[in-house]
Symmetry: C2
Subunit: 351 residues, 2 copies
């Protein structure tokens, strides 16, 4: 039974909890038959839903709690008064070794604060980062940080590069993912100290990373590298700008097809191909932002996702566990520690 993976689920987190959580678990179980779930939440609400899904019922248990974290709770409040919440208990079960990973579709800020407090940081990592996958021309890439750290120094970015690289290996299944640091384009304006310092360090011989230097915003979608490293402010803006542009574009296309009788007929012919494209870009496939840097695995599902999306978030956590994410990170941290310090001085920008 060494193969068993125990997944702790915050059954009360997200817009459509607990239904979506339970249905998502049932879907994930089809992909990962070795999984056992622990649902944390209000038993009287969970049990009837689970009883309707016999395949799931044999692979799960319920830990009752009446408390849960609301979507608008402040992280500090959640930390102080959420100790018996479904979210916190799920994280605790990872911290005490009972579960291998925890998944929640609840309040992001609360989840971050509680995960950092309950699970602790990996030795050698100073700050947690939020990572997620996004579609690119070549398939998918990982980007981090997406908002956990507004300001980052060079060392933070180096740690993000390490964590993102291991994440791409364990979840995207890439043997040797390429890593780039997001920067701005002009020759004259090669970014800030953090970006230049991190690049200098990642270029040192012996760094266990295939570092491709700087990439620009338009190269994210082009899939120029597998792992895009940036501070949480820029990463959050870039991710949301990409989402917003994709949404705008979809709307423009939809309007174009609705704009004339001929276009409507054209749509009917192209419908199946466009449907496949929609499937490929389905946000549910990219669900599951991960809190990296912790001594355990915690995944944040989008709050408004459906069962399929939640199942994908579970899949991210399970993949990380099965593929030894934490051990690989520890190995890489040790290898980085053994390297000499960079003596390259970052150069001042010309302007």
């Amino acid at each position: 039974m060494t193969d068993k993976v125990i997944v702790a689920l915050d059954a009360m987190g997200g817009d459509s909890a607990p239904d979506v959580v339970i249905q998502g678990a049932a879907i994930a179980l089809q992909r990962f038959p070795q999984v056992e779930f622990i649902f944390f939440g209000v038993e009287s609400r969970l049990k009837p839903l689970i009883d309707k899904l016999p395949a799931l019922a044999g692979h799960c248990s319920i830990r009752h709690t009446d408390h849960f974290i609301t979507g608008d709770a402040k992280p500090t409040t959640a930390l102080r008064s959420g100790r018996q919440s479904s979210m916190r208990l799920a994280l605790d079960s990872v911290a005490n070794g009972e579960a291998h990973c925890a998944i929640s579709a609840g309040n992001t800020g609360a989840l971050m604060a509680m995960a950092k407090f309950a699970i602790k940081m990996l030795p050698g990592i100073s700050r947690p980062a939020i990572a997620a996958m996004l579609p690119t021309r070549r398939g998918e890439s990982v980007m981090l940080d997406l908002g956990a750290n507004v300001e980052c120094d060079a060392e933070n970015l180096v740690q993000f590069a390490l964590m993102g690289e291991v994440f791409a290996r364990t979840v995207l299944g890439l043997a040797r993912p390429t890593v780039g640091i997001l920067n701005i384009g002009s020759e004259e304006l090669k970014g800030n100290d953090a970006v230049r310092g991190a690049a200098a360090r990642l270029r040192l011989p012996g760094v266990p990373i295939d570092f491709h230097g700087y990439i620009e915003g338009d190269e994210i979608g082009a899939g120029k590298v597998d792992v895009v490293v940036t501070d949480g402010f820029t990463g959050n803006v870039a991710l949301k700008t990409a989402e917003g542009t994709a949404k705008l574009f979809s709307e423009f296309i939809r309007n174009a097809f609705a704009s004339s009788f001929m276009a409507k007929i054209g749509y009917l012919f192209a419908k199946s191909s466009l449907g496949k494209l929609r499937e490929r870009l389905d946000v549910r496939s990219y669900n599951g932002a991960v809190l990296l840097g912790l001594e355990g695995i915690a995944v944040k599902s989008h709050g408004s996702t459906d069962a399929l999306g939640f199942a994908n978030a579970i899949g991210v956590g399970v993949d990380m566990w099965i593929n030894g994410f934490l051990d690989k990170i520890r190995d890489d941290i040790a290898r980085m520690k053994a390297l000499p310090e960079s003596d390259e001085k970052p150069q001042a920008a010309a302007l």
Copy 2:
């Protein structure tokens, strides 16, 4: 003849100079018959091209110079040894009052450095910013800074807000443009000191700006505000990410239409509507990044644009002059100066 607008053109800047510059001027002249052009560049190359366009020939003069700035020249080199370059002479003609605006499709870094040196900064503005227009659901918005300033403090952002607002009034023709500061989403992580300090100041009573607070990356494309204010690092990444996503999407759509016989037929029916969309999103319509904060008007055209795109860049400069951009900026700076200092302390982020 008070209506005459004198436009200085760097005839040697850009990938297809001088042809595109001269053809672009001819197109712009149709829209702005009151314009007189001064072409700075190699006379023996310019004259034959101008002679072929009789309508233009009567509205322009040539200032010969053999020197020009190459695309890969460093700004410092351009400053030191480019004093007789076509780009520099065009900027000088704005500085000495001979021309009302200068347009160049040449090297951005060199243009910024030389413009700052030759034209000088507006009193009260500490740093220049690069602004440009981009398409949104509601029409178009202005975003700045797009890369001139990697790191910005609150006061810089406030000045960008002022300049962007006046730019939107004079070029987009909006009576009272709305302004937002780009920030990240989570309640818990409300950005850095610069962003919070600028927002506090822009919320003061008496500020001559319709300030809408923070916006997130996905709200740029949604057109939530007319003017998006951000530092040059974030702005550059956001703009390029949007461009990259749009490109990726176009490619996905193109592939979807090519993926089956049915889809190809669908394309034929929808072609005209999709063509109109392409027109609406034509990058040439959004050509013309402006260097704001100077005591004169300088516009950067994309280096690889065609004649229509270059004509649009000329249009931006002419619109700014006709609509009194510089006077309006001076008015607003004076009004801001008259306000008391903000006593709102930016709050620390909760995480």
